[in-house]
């Protein structure tokens, strides 16, 4: 894992002091709320429905056991004993006190963490593949470049007041597990035919009000040019992105307005001036950062373990969990394990301090002390010996982290929604729970197979509803909460054949009470129409929306639906 050196430590500590001073001036009335807002946001602090909310960065989703224990400590000391893992590989605390916020940042700094640029109109936390370094389908490990980008973007003086927020994702595997095409800049790390290391650059993807798949503006860019090229993109955006209307301020709108060709031309024109300048990456720097991500000292193990095989044969519940939660690993005899934060009745992505501590302990006992956070809002143990899987399962079950639903209908991705978020049009968590309660038969949900449901409480799309096989969006109609349903979205992962697609709305919105029935009808339609081996998304792709739409609306009374 990356470790801070003097520069990292100095900057993060100075940031805490800077923020402490700003907070003090704000509390003393010297800094107005309007002036303080962008400053606190760039330190992860929102003012929410009940209290401030603090969003802490987990750069590219990687945590050490020590860091996770600190997150647990913060949950206990400053919050109500839990935290919420988000679709952007951050963790959010919903109940900290404004007065405590500088102390929390200081605690984070003590374990080489921060909340820098987790909000505000700046370059946000860099996200990546949660299986980086361990996935068998990896082409290039995305972590070194992600860390290099974290450093480059941190306190970039020119790009701290962009027209709007700016999200960068990096993926280095055959499967896209970072929803890369949905980012302001998406980066695929790869090798060309000559074996040279480089990146493919996408620009202008995003969700929100105007969901768009990013455009490839560079098919292959040699690795050393990555920073200068991104600088050129950001300079064009900073100067020409719209600032008159916050709904039209993302880079995707600029790319659309200029057209991808003209946008690319402007970037290339700008890039000529910075190309090969001092911002050009060096071999030494790439090697140095890469050296922070060595493979741990794996044992030489057989890939098959007799004890494990026996447990599989004798224990159907264990076998079912293995089928969903245990993932292949690059090294024989090891697996990665997805711990589900989607137990029915628990808000998706929430973990208690005790659970975080348990996961930290397992990561040390069963692995090398490393944990990953996925954009699906689950936690991952990266290097578990096959022979330890059964013991881990028993303990994870006790801790409520072994729901065998990864990738299935109840592994719902949901934003905090109206229960916490002051921007929400509608609640997300109760909808997720109602759907989970409806689908309470494990045999049935396994029979349904892979199905991603994503719920966002408003157009900001924190729940990535556009990319859900079934997407649910909270809308406000005359002060009432309604839900718009879309189908056919895909986040670029193998769950959607590697495609990135934006779901299409099926029709008028529904009231909260109707949602479990609507989802049931969609699933029933799929079950009737599916061919052998087909998943929900496959049937939507093959037959389109029509049969689903017909069934859902035929069975509903006029008064229950609303014109969308």
């Amino acid at each position: 894992m990356y470790r801070y050196d003097t520069i990292d430590r100095t900057l993060v500590n100075e940031r805490v002091e800077q923020y402490r001073d700003q907070l003090t001036r704000h509390l003393a009335g010297e800094l107005s709320e309007d002036e303080f807002r962008p400053l606190r946001l760039q330190n992860g602090l929102y003012i929410q429905r009940h209290a401030p909310m603090l969003r802490v960065a987990i750069p590219y989703g990687l945590l050490s056991a020590k860091q996770l224990r600190m997150l647990a400590h913060i949950a206990r000391k400053y919050d109500r004993g839990f935290g919420h893992f988000t679709t952007r590989q951050n963790i959010q605390y919903n109940w900290p006190k404004l007065e405590d916020s500088a102390d929390i940042l200081a605690d984070l700094a003590s374990v080489e963490m921060h909340a820098i640029q987790t909000s505000g109109n700046c370059v946000r936390n860099i996200t990546s593949d949660e299986f980086a370094g361990i996935a068998p389908d990896e082409i290039v490990d995305p972590r070194p470049l992600s860390e290099i980008l974290r450093q480059w973007s941190t306190f970039h003086p020119e790009f701290a007041f962009l027209p709007r927020k700016f999200k960068i994702a990096v993926n280095g595997a055959a499967e896209d597990r970072a929803a890369t095409a949905f980012h302001d800049i998406g980066i695929y790390v790869l090798r060309n035919f000559e074996g040279e290391l480089g990146v493919r650059v996408l620009v202008g993807g995003g969700m929100g009000r105007t969901p768009i798949i990013g455009h490839v503006i560079r098919d292959f860019l040699p690795w050393k040019h990555v920073l200068t090229y991104i600088e050129a993109i950001l300079r064009v955006y900073n100067r020409h992105g719209r600032r008159d209307n916050m709904y039209k301020a993302r880079i995707k709108i600029l790319v659309k307005a200029l057209g991808p060709e003209e946008f690319t031309r402007q970037v290339e024109e700008e890039w000529v001036h910075v190309k090969d300048g001092p911002g050009t990456l060096t071999r030494e720097e790439l090697d140095r950062v890469t050296a922070y991500f060595p493979a741990p000292e794996y044992e030489t193990l057989a890939d098959v373990d007799a004890g494990h095989e026996q447990h599989l044969a004798e224990n159907a519940a264990f076998a079912r969990w293995v089928g969903r939660s245990v993932r292949p690993h690059r090294i024989a005899g090891y697996r990665s394990v997805v711990l589900s934060l989607k137990k029915t009745g628990v808000p998706p992505g929430d973990a208690t301090a005790e659970q975080m501590e348990a996961v930290a302990d397992w990561s040390e006992r069963f692995g090398f002390g490393e944990i990953r956070v996925s954009h699906e809002q689950n936690l991952i143990l990266s290097d578990v010996r096959v022979s330890d899987l059964h013991t881990l399962w028993l303990e994870a079950k006790t801790a409520g982290l072994a729901t065998p639903n990864i990738g299935l209908i109840t592994d719902i991705i949901a934003c905090p929604g109206g229960d916490f978020c002051s921007l929400a049009n509608a609640k997300s968590i109760p909808i997720a729970e109602a759907i989970q309660r409806r689908f309470d038969d494990l045999d049935y949900i396994h029979d349904i197979g892979e199905l991603n449901i994503n719920i966002s409480g408003c157009m900001n799309s924190c729940g990535h509803h556009h990319a859900g096989h079934i997407g649910i969006l909270g809308v406000d109609k005359d002060g009432e909460e309604w839900y718009q349903v879309s189908i056919g979205g895909a986040d670029g992962s193998s769950a959607g054949h590697g495609r990135s697609a934006i779901g299409k709305v099926i029709g008028p919105s529904f009231k909260a009470e109707a949602m479990p029935d609507v989802i049931s009808t969609l699933v029933d339609t799929f079950v009737e129409l599916r061919d052998e081996g087909e998943r929900f998304i496959d049937v939507v792709d093959r037959l389109g929306q029509a049969p689903f739409k017909a069934r859902v609306y035929a069975s509903r009374q006029e008064k229950e639906v609303l014109d969308a």
Binding site: F155, R239, P278
Partner: protein
């Protein structure tokens, strides 16, 4: 006389920023040192040169290339921040310095607040007309917020990774660094 920060010190300054209303022109300028918008300068260059004591300010929407031909004749250039959250001025300043070679005073005007001057100085500003209801002393202190930086900008174009040797991960030791470098 108002106080501004210039080259890291608080100084008295009598340059007046002129924001003409529609229909106002060169003849409406107040006496003394004036900083006029780029548009006014471009439309009345000769008259303004004849007047003397004239500098130019750019809006975030202005193309800095347009002022480039006149830089030699200008005593100072200012960049306006209509709101402190409008970050265009940072790129305009960076371009004036790094691309168009402006070496004279580059002044931030408008909604200039203490908490932004650190980044402003990095992109090339060396003078700050801090908003009159805000503390110049706080701004002066804020210029020293950070003692290092990862990425290059105008103040130091060389990023941290080229500037100083950063350590090799301890866990791997120096031997492995050498082995890698030889590989």
């Amino acid at each position: 006389m108002p106080e501004i920060i210039r080259k890291g010190a608080v100084v008295q300054d009598d340059w007046q920023v002129v924001r003409p209303e529609a229909g106002q022109g060169v003849n409406d300028l107040p006496p003394g040192h004036v900083i006029v918008p780029l548009g006014l300068w471009l439309a009345n260059t000769e008259a303004l040169i004849a007047r003397g004591n004239v500098a130019v300010w750019l809006a975030g929407t202005d193309d800095p290339a347009l002022v480039a031909p006149w830089l030699e004749r200008l005593p100072l250039v200012a960049v306006d921040f209509p709101k402190f959250t409008d970050g265009r001025g940072y790129s305009v300043a960076y371009l004036l310095r790094s691309r168009f070679g402006w070496r004279g005073e580059l002044r931030a005007i408008g909604d200039v607040l203490p908490d932004q001057v650190f980044y402003m100085q990095r992109v090339g500003f060396d003078a700050f007309a801090v908003r009159s209801d805000r503390s110049v002393a706080t701004a002066l202190r804020a210029l020293k917020t950070f003692s290092d930086a990862y990425q290059g900008s105008w103040d130091n174009p060389v990023p941290a990774f080229r500037r100083e040797p950063r350590p090799w991960p301890e866990s791997l030791g120096q031997d492995s660094l050498k082995a890698r470098q030889q590989a």
